[in-house]
């Protein structure tokens, strides 16, 4: 668990620093297309990290995380479009709304003993409520969509989050690194131990004095708040929001693929998973286009095959065996650890 960085070997550090340096320099070297792919990778790594807090650390399966993406996106976008409130202020409101919603859902579930699969269904239900609700919410465009003034490509305006891909790239990189550090800090403190105890055996955790209700609430609230920031980013990056897309269950599923494939409960898992999945899917798309093929749904089929392969061949995800193979960690016996 805490072996993430503490027990990482020298060449692991060198590798990490090299990757970070490469990521920092990417906008100067990469083409615009490559940069958008990198943004997508970082976006999924960040959102996957946020989801991982709930599922990977505390063992609470959410299949409705698109709810928090959507709430973050709509709240920040609506404040910007209707009242001219800059996203840096809007994100505070976005996080507050997502946290409140997460707290309500978690309270209902945990107070009434809804767990496991039923909890997952509840998270889907709330995301669907939101999708249908926003479909009829005229103030933010209802089903015909909500649009932000399109960014001027040439000039960067950090304050209003208008600008070229490099700006968004650095914002997403900052978020991803911050999320990683936050998760590492959480895992290494009391809350992280308690979450993992709850994940492993809730009754045994209670017998050790853990107020499991409270700690599960913390997991949901932190995860929801972090996920909503990805939503704020989404709104200002894509400039258009459709409930049918933003809140759709396929979005929730897409979000959790990276941590599942990379390694649930690990710190590097969501990042590795996002990198592999997104780059391979984009590569596949490019390949098909090069051959003049246009296969709708090819990406989804590819995701499905990846998931199948990882679940059957590497049930712990790619990161734990990868870390062992690269000898990044000195204690290979800890399977669940990053």
């Amino acid at each position: 668990m805490k072996m993430a960085l503490a027990s990482m070997r020298m060449h692991g550090w060198i590798l990490l620093i090299a990757v970070l340096a490469g990521l920092l320099g990417a906008p100067f070297l990469a083409s615009d297309y490559l940069l958008t792919v990198l943004i997508l990778i970082l976006y999924f790594a960040y959102a996957g990290q946020a989801w991982n807090i709930m599922m990977g650390f505390a063992g609470q399966l959410s299949l409705g995380h698109a709810l928090y993406i959507g709430l973050g996106a709509y709240v920040a976008a609506a404040l910007y479009v209707h009242y001219g409130i800059v996203p840096w202020v809007g994100l505070v409101a976005a996080v507050a709304v997502a946290v409140a919603c997460g707290a309500i859902i978690a309270f209902l579930a945990f107070r009434f003993g809804v767990g496991g699969v039923y909890f997952a269904i509840l998270t889907i239900a709330f995301a669907e409520f939101a999708r249908i609700g926003f479909d009829h919410f005229r103030w933010v465009g209802a089903s015909s969509g909500f649009f932000l003034p399109v960014a001027q490509y040439t000039s960067n305006d950090l304050w209003n989050l208008r600008g070229n891909p490099a700006l968004f790239y650095y914002i997403m990189l900052t978020l991803t690194v911050a999320a990683f550090l936050l998760c590492r800090l959480l895992l290494q403190s009391r809350i992280g131990y308690y979450w993992q105890a709850i994940r492993e055996d809730e009754e045994a955790a209670r017998a050790l004095g853990i107020d499991t209700f409270r700690y599960k609430m913390y997991a949901v609230v932190i995860s929801a708040g972090m996920t909503s920031l990805a939503g704020v980013f989404f709104a200002f990056y894509y400039n258009n929001l459709f409930p049918e897309q933003v809140f759709h269950i396929s979005r929730s599923i897409e979000l959790i693929l990276a941590p599942i494939i990379g390694g649930i409960g690990t710190l590097f898992g969501p990042i590795i998973g996002a990198f592999l999945l997104t780059s391979l899917a984009e590569g596949l798309h490019e390949l098909l286009t090069a051959f003049g093929l246009d296969v709708p749904g090819a990406k989804q089929v590819f995701y499905g095959l990846c998931l199948l392969a990882v679940i059957t061949l590497l049930p712990d995800g790619i990161w734990p065996p990868l870390a062992r193979a690269l000898r990044l960690t000195s204690q290979p016996s800890k399977d669940r650890g990053p």
Partner: protein, 242 residues
């Protein structure tokens, strides 16, 4: 001397089956108290009532002169009662050390301080050398000791042990007895144990309560209790007496 744990007139039924009926006893601070009885006598039910896993139908449970019946298991633990599970429940995906850390963090928010406590407890229970192993790699005797270590790390005033000797070989049983006696002597820890292994009960307990069909049929010093005709008939069997 004030009583640490006082149980009076405690009853619990499951759909008409009276698992525990009108049981009462008191455990003094610093003593090792054993509850014995045949399978289905209500030992584990009694245990779960004390630990807060079950709520009694009637009767009271007081710990340190405060009522604890009806409290949740986590509140009971925070109050100073640590428990083990008859069927061990280690956090399989965590290392031995992290398992014990979860217990140690109850009274220490700081990870470094908790780690010191975890190391101390792991040394006491012969688990220190295995601290980096995942709990899933442990054998049953080690898992039993881990169960005790985790509960002990929460610094209980009273430790509830649910058949920690079951499934152990005689030498392993003797080692566990040794560890518990040592803990009791050096730290003054009070222990309430449910046990089938009479070898351990005789070596450990200062007083014994015998349950049969949910009711207490005898209480007293181990040597006297095992000669009690009612106990011999219901539990030990006639051949147990030489």
């Amino acid at each position: 001397m004030t009583v640490l744990l006082a149980i009076s007139d405690l009853s619990k039924s499951f759909r008409g089956l009276r698992a525990v009926q009108n049981v009462g006893f008191a455990v003094q601070p610093g003593e090792i108290f054993a509850v014995i009885g045949p399978n289905g006598a209500g030992k584990t039910t009694l245990f779960n009532l004390i630990a807060g896993t079950l709520v009694p139908d009637s009767g009271t449970i007081s710990f340190c002169a405060e009522r604890i019946d009806g409290l949740t298991p986590d509140a009971v633990c925070r109050g100073g009662i640590g428990r083990t599970f008859q069927l061990v429940r280690p956090f399989l995906g965590l290392t031995v050390q992290d398992n014990v850390m979860v217990g140690a963090l109850l009274r220490r928010k700081d990870v470094t301080t908790a780690m010191r406590r975890a190391h101390e407890v792991m040394r006491q229970l012969d688990l220190f050398d295995k601290r980096a192993l995942p709990a899933s790699a442990l054998t049953l005797p080690d898992r039993k000791r881990l169960e005790v270590a985790r509960a002990l790390a929460t610094d209980p005033k009273l430790l509830l042990l649910d058949e920690v000797m079951a499934g152990l070989r005689p030498t392993e049983t003797d080692r566990m007895v040794e560890i518990l006696v040592d803990l009791n002597r050096t730290t003054g820890l009070t222990i309430l144990l449910i046990e089938h292994v009479m070898r351990a009960v005789m070596a450990l307990a200062r007083r014994v309560l015998v349950l049969h069909h949910g009711a207490a049929i005898a209480e007293g010093e181990p040597a006297a209790v095992v000669r009690d005709p009612a106990v011999i008939e219901s539990y030990l069997g006639v051949e147990a007496v030489d």
